[in-house]
């Protein structure tokens, strides 16, 4: 025997997650049927229930998994910030890392981008919550940057929200234009310009007392 029982179960679970991720590439979770997933995995429909209570539960598992990818990206971005010299370097490396991760975890980013707006309510809620956490983290990062010493925490959150929104939009645009390296290069350059514009504005900003 080469596999223990829990290993086999985990393998099937993974196969289900992968199948769902694959089927979600050009549709949404709400238009996904249990039977499609089962057929893709190569199991009988009822066996699905051995692993997930419903498609919605599957979706929540995919949210968790996808945000592992996203957080890995944020870790890389932070490491880049530590190594980089000035603002320009931070912007350049951060966008490069974004582009790279979107490529490597295309399915996860696509899933988040789509289900954020279209998934079952609980999935939407979960994604919204995770993104809010990311914004909060970014806000504390921004607080450490020179020039933001006197900012109110509200303003930090607002700036953080703007940056996250712009980067999410960039990721979506990259996903739409996958397999078009020229367009993608332009999108990355645009994202860098946007970040620079925002940071220039931020450096001039003074919070109201």
């Amino acid at each position: 025997m080469t596999e223990t029982r829990v290993e086999r179960k985990e393998r099937t679970r993974r196969a289900i997650l992968d199948a769902a991720l694959h089927l979600c590439e050009d549709s949404s979770l709400v238009a996904l049927s249990l039977r499609q997933v089962a057929k893709e995995v190569g199991i009988v429909p009822t066996a699905f229930y051995r692993h997930f209570e419903s498609i919605e539960a599957l979706g929540l598992a995919l949210v968790d998994e996808s945000f592992v990818s996203l957080r890995a990206m944020l870790r890389d971005v932070r490491r880049g910030e530590g190594a980089a010299g000035g603002f320009a370097d931070i912007v350049d490396s951060s966008v490069s890392i974004l582009v790279e991760h979107v490529h490597q975890q295309r399915q996860h980013f696509r899933f988040i981008a789509r289900e954020r707006a279209a998934g079952p309510p609980s999935v939407r809620e979960a994604i919204r919550h995770e993104i809010e956490l990311c914004e909060r983290e970014l806000a504390t990062d921004l607080a450490r940057l020179p020039g933001t010493e006197e900012w109110s925490s509200d303003d930090l959150r607002v700036l953080s929200n703007l940056i996250v929104t712009a980067m999410v939009a960039t990721a979506e645009a990259i996903l739409i234009n996958a397999r078009r390296p020229d367009v993608e290069k332009q999108l990355a350059e645009n994202a860098r310009t946007q970040l620079r514009m925002v940071l220039i504005g931020a450096l001039q900003w003074r919070s109201k007392p």
Copy 2:
């Protein structure tokens, strides 16, 4: 007789559009069935075909209709800009108009926000195209603002994209928090702050030669 034949037909068509819009409030077009719509309207499923070739065609019609609402908003924004005094006034009035229109045309904005990411490919494409047109228009508006005389057209587009992205995100957030006036007020204030930050950055910006 109170109604001519074309009037009756148009009335049914409207009823179908309204029913679809209503059913799309908490689901997506791809999870919408022809029979649901027909039942909601009060006609037999096959009668649907007298008005639309498919659900997808219905979606494209809804895109057209929704962007009529959105363009009406942009017209109001431009009128506000003409009347307003300085940058601060423009920002304040623009965001107010956004909030107001999102309320008045809740279903249309919700539809765009959702199907933009989750709709059938042709619907996504149509929405993407319309938003791009809006960005283009905003770019020409920005070109008329004092301080952007020396900007490259690329930079104008990039700034326009950033602003549109931020405003779309604001509209989505308002839709999520509908019926919570306190949250909504905060969101509007955040949007104003973001616009001010961006404009401050833009005023300092100099395009590369």
